[in-house]
């Protein structure tokens, strides 16, 4: 970790417009929870909370926040040329990647878990037998996994945002629903499996579709491979676009 790289990355990621947009997204989650609390069937508070946090939180908010932060952590600097100021320094590329990944994951987790925790507490009217904490803690791990993948993606292609969105919408949103095998490589499913393991609610309330061991093994594999790929790509970073 490098403090200067971390501070610059933090200020870069938390630009006013981006933060506001993501806070608004999180606000939608809280708003739905408030509406349920005021007008919904309170006997169904746990299943509703599971659906809200699982679908809107882990299924939508988490990947979108991580996509913006993960692809913005290094990708944006490479695109506008400012990356050169960091890279023309006697710094290990590993340090740069790990620092940026840590900052992106921390920002993603904060802007995902905060609204999820608040929404969960409101709609469940409390911790909901560990459901709210389980979902929130799993979302922090899921944010890290997503960020690792998106940071690596931004070092592989200049269109990381498009490919990242395609992964979230097509692979995780569509294919993982149709073919059980594709769920293994779905970060959303891995996150839900971890949430399920932490929460102690009945299967009728919430049941993940991926078993915990597979989720952990594949999750660790994804994290390690994506991070190593990112380090490797940055170490061999070449300036593109000959200008003269």
């Amino acid at each position: 970790m490098n403090g200067v790289v971390a501070r610059i990355t933090l200020r870069q990621l938390l630009s006013r417009r981006r933060t506001l947009l993501l806070l608004l997204l999180g606000g939608v989650l809280v708003l739905v929870a408030v509406v349920f609390r005021l007008a919904g069937d309170q006997l169904r508070a746990l299943p509703f909370t599971a659906g809200l946090l699982g679908t809107l939180g882990i299924g939508t908010l988490m990947p979108l926040v991580a996509l913006l932060f993960g692809t913005g952590a290094i990708g944006a600097e490479i695109e506008d040329g400012t990356a050169l100021f960091l890279l023309a320094k006697p710094l290990r590329r590993r340090t740069v990647v790990l620092t940026k990944l840590a900052v992106a994951a921390a920002c993603s987790a904060a802007l995902t878990c905060g609204p999820m925790l608040l929404a969960g507490l409101i709609s469940a009217g409390g911790l909901g037998d560990g459901l709210v904490l389980g979902m929130t803690a799993a979302a922090a791990i899921g944010s890290l996994l997503y960020c690792a993948v998106f940071v690596a993606l931004s070092l592989v292609t200049g269109r990381a945002l498009v490919f990242g969105l395609a992964y979230v919408l097509i692979w995780e949103g569509l294919l993982a629903g149709l073919f059980a095998g594709t769920r293994t490589f779905s970060i959303r499913q891995q996150t839900l499996a971890i949430a399920d393991a932490i929460a102690s609610v009945r299967r009728t309330v919430f049941d993940a579709q991926l078993d915990l061991t597979t989720a952990i093994v594949v999750g660790v594999l994804v994290l390690v491979v994506a991070t190593l790929l990112a380090i490797r790509r940055l170490a061999s970073y070449e300036i593109s676009g000959e200008t003269g």
Partner: protein, 313 residues
């Protein structure tokens, strides 16, 4: 004075370096060595100047040949940046940092402790005369101020080697002169400075040595005066309008400085290999023949034509 010299290694050396992108050759078999002083990379846009600077700066791998800085390969060697200050051509600098914060961040990333970094940043800011704007965010800087902030960031660790890609872009004439003085002063202290420019006058004013790059090749290299002489003495072509073009053509052909004269579609075109002598003798020849000169225009004075002459030479 540079680390390279201290160890007996050449500061920057390119040996038979080529770089291609797919089928496009950007740099073609270039060799040179730099050890102290200011060297200008001169060439038209797209000639390969940036590619060369990026290879020296460790941001592009040569496709063939070797690029060494201080005796070791430039590619894949982040430790080299302790000795290099790099000013990229692209304008973008973190807009949310102030000039001072940017210089300080550069110093900290070079491994300086906070106190030392703050002092080094203040020195660098003063060196580029950016004190007045140092505490304002770079996002509000003019192009010239941003350029100076970039130079401050590159100088902050007092590197023995400086690489600058089009460093005078966007600077006003006063800032340009100041930057030229700054570079000359640093070269006098023993640093090795390599900068690129497509403007002849910039290179002429600041560089001791020039590398002319055209279409990826080293078209000419050496002392600026030598290059200037080659450029001035190349064949020049003029078109002339006068009171009697035909009589003037015959009169001019008797002059030894005229290599040829032709009347083409009523337009008199004259070629000369000695620009200076030609411009001195034409008025006399016309006067003696009783002809009035209406117009005398060089036909091909673009930098590109000068460069392509150097390549063909």
């Amino acid at each position: 004075m540079s680390d390279g010299q201290a160890r007996g290694d050449v500061a920057v050396e390119l040996a038979n370096v080529s770089r291609w992108y797919g089928n496009v050759v950007a740099v073609n078999d270039i060799s040179f060595r730099l050890d102290g002083g200011i060297t200008g990379l001169l060439g038209p846009n797209g000639a390969g100047k940036s590619t060369i600077l990026h290879m020296v700066g460790g941001f592009l791998a040569p496709s063939s040949g070797s690029v060494t800085v201080g005796g070791a390969p430039a590619w894949h060697r982040p430790a080299m940046y302790r000795r290099i200050g790099l000013v990229p051509e692209r304008e973008a600098v973190y807009p949310f940092l102030t000039g001072r914060e940017f210089a300080e961040a550069n110093a900290r990333l070079q491994g300086m402790p906070p106190d030392e970094a703050a002092a080094a940043a203040a020195r660098a800011i003063a060196l580029v005369e950016l004190e007045d704007a140092a505490d304002r965010p770079i996002g509000g800087y003019s192009k010239g101020m941003r350029q100076r902030a970039k130079v401050a960031g590159a100088l902050v660790h007092d590197p023995p080697i400086l690489l600058l890609d089009e460093p005078f872009n966007g600077m006003d004439p006063r800032q340009r002169l100041h930057m030229m003085d700054l570079l000359r002063g640093m070269a006098a202290e023993g640093r090795t400075i390599l900068f690129s420019s497509h403007i002849l006058e910039e290179v002429e004013r600041v560089a001791e040595r020039v590398l002319v790059i055209v279409a990826g090749r080293l078209a000419a290299s050496g002392d600026f005066r030598e290059i200037r002489r080659l450029m001035t003495d190349r064949p020049h072509t003029f078109t002339i309008r006068s009171s009697d073009d035909r009589a003037l053509a015959s009169a001019l052909l008797t002059d030894p400085t005229i290599a040829g004269a032709a009347l083409d579609g009523g337009l008199l075109t004259v070629r000369t290999s000695d620009f200076g002598a030609f411009s001195r003798s034409v008025p006399g020849i016309a006067r003696r023949a009783g002809i009035s000169l209406h117009e005398l225009l060089p036909t091909d004075e673009s930098l590109e034509s000068v460069f392509s002459y150097l390549v063909r030479r």
